[in-house]
Amino acid sequence: MIRKRQTGSKRAPTISTASLPDIIFMLLFFFMVATVLRETTLKVRVIVPEATELQKLEKKSLVSYIYIGPPMPQYVQQYGTAPRIQLNDVIADIDDVIPFVESEKAQLPEKLQPFMTISLRVDTGVKMGIVTDVKQELRKANALKINYSARKRVHEL
C-alpha cells in the first residue's frame, strides 16, 4: 500500500484545469447579463449633470434615448460646435423628434406604449433653449414620461 502511493504521487503532479473554463464562463455570463450592448455610437459629447434624486430606469426595452450636446471633435467640421440633437445614430434637427418618437413607439407592443420613457441624455454645458424645444416636441408627440439622465452627486452643493 505504502509503496504504491509513493509511486503514484511522483507520477502525477499536475493540477486539473478542467474547471477553469467553468469559472471563466461564469464570469462571462455575469458580464453578459449585467451589461448592455452599446447600440449607438455617440456623435455628440454628453457628460450628464449630477443630482441626488435619482431613479433607476427599470425596463430597458421601454426606453428611447435622445442625446443633446456639442458634436464630437471629428464631426465639428460637418456640424459645427453648437449643441445638436442625436437620435439613434444620426445628428438630427428639432423637426425629426416627433417622427423619431412615433417610430420608437410603433416598435413597442400596444399595451406597453403608454409606459414608453424617453431618456434625455443632455450635456451639462447645453443651454435650456434647445432642451425646452425638445420637451415641447415630446409633449406634441405625447411622450410624456421623460427622464433627465444624471449621475450621483457625491459632494455637497
Binding site: A51, V122, R139, A150, E156
Partner: protein, 185 residues
C-alpha cells in the same frame, strides 16, 4: 498488448485551451459593453393641449416662484438666493409649519412655479429641479417617519399613496408662449 492498454488509459481531451477560448469571449464582451446603470430624474410632462389652456387662478401665497436667469442666478419669491438654500426654503413653503400667512395654506395647495431662461445652463436647471424634488422627498420621508416609523421608500404601496396625497408634487414649468423669450415648460 502493452500498447493497447496504454491507449485505453488516455481517453480524456486536454481542456486547458477551453479557458483561453472563454477568456477571449469574456474580453470581447468586456470591450463591447458598457456598465451603464441608467439613472435619472423622472419627470412627467403635461399633455400638449394648446386649445384648452385653463387659466387657473391660484392665490399668490400658494405659489412659490423660482426664476433662473441666463446667468444662472436664482430668484426665489423675488429675492436672490443661493441654490444651496433652496431646498430648505421650498420645504418651509410647502409645509408651512408655523402657519405663516405668506406661505402656502396647505401642502396640497402649494404649487412651485419654475421659470428658466433659454440661456440658462442645463446643469443649473437640473440642480434647481433636483433641489425642489428633494424638498418634496424629504417632506414625504419625514411624514412617513412620523406616522409609520419607516422611510417613504420602505412603505407598502397603499401607505405610499397616502403620503403622496399629503405632499403631492406640483412643480409647474411656465408655458413658453406666455413669457416670450423666457422659455421653459
Amino acid at each position: 498488448m502493452p500498447r493497447q492498454q496504454k491507449k485505453r488509459e488516455l481517453p480524456e481531451i486536454n481542456a486547458a485551451s477551453m479557458a483561453d477560448v472563454a477568456f477571449l469571449l469574456l474580453a470581447f464582451f468586456l470591450m463591447t459593453t458598457t456598465m451603464n446603470i441608467d439613472k435619472g430624474i423622472m419627470v412627467k410632462l403635461p399633455p400638449w393641449d394648446p386649445e384648452n389652456i385653463i387659466d387657473v387662478k391660484i392665490a399668490d401665497r400658494n405659489v412659490f416662484t423660482v426664476l433662473v436667469n441666463a446667468r444662472d442666478e436664482l430668484l426665489v419669491e423675488g429675492e436672490p438666493m443661493d441654490v444651496a438654500k433652496l431646498r430648505e426654503a421650498a420645504k418651509e413653503f410647502i409645509a408651512n409649519p408655523y402657519g405663516r400667512p405668506d406661505l402656502s395654506e396647505s401642502p396640497q395647495k402649494a404649487v412651485i412655479s419654475l421659470k428658466t431662461d433659454r440661456g440658462t445652463s442645463y446643469n443649473m436647471y437640473i440642480t434647481v429641479y433636483n433641489e425642489l424634488k428633494a424638498a418634496y422627498r424629504e417632506l414625504r420621508d419625514e411624514a412617513a417617519m412620523k406616522k409609520y416609523g419607516v422611510p417613504f421608500d420602505k412603505l407598502p404601496p397603499d401607505k405610499q399613496k397616502e403620503i403622496r396625497k399629503m405632499y403631492p408634487i406640483k412643480i409647474s414649468e411656465a408655458e413658453p408662449e406666455a413669457i416670450g423669450e423666457q422659455i421653459s415648460n
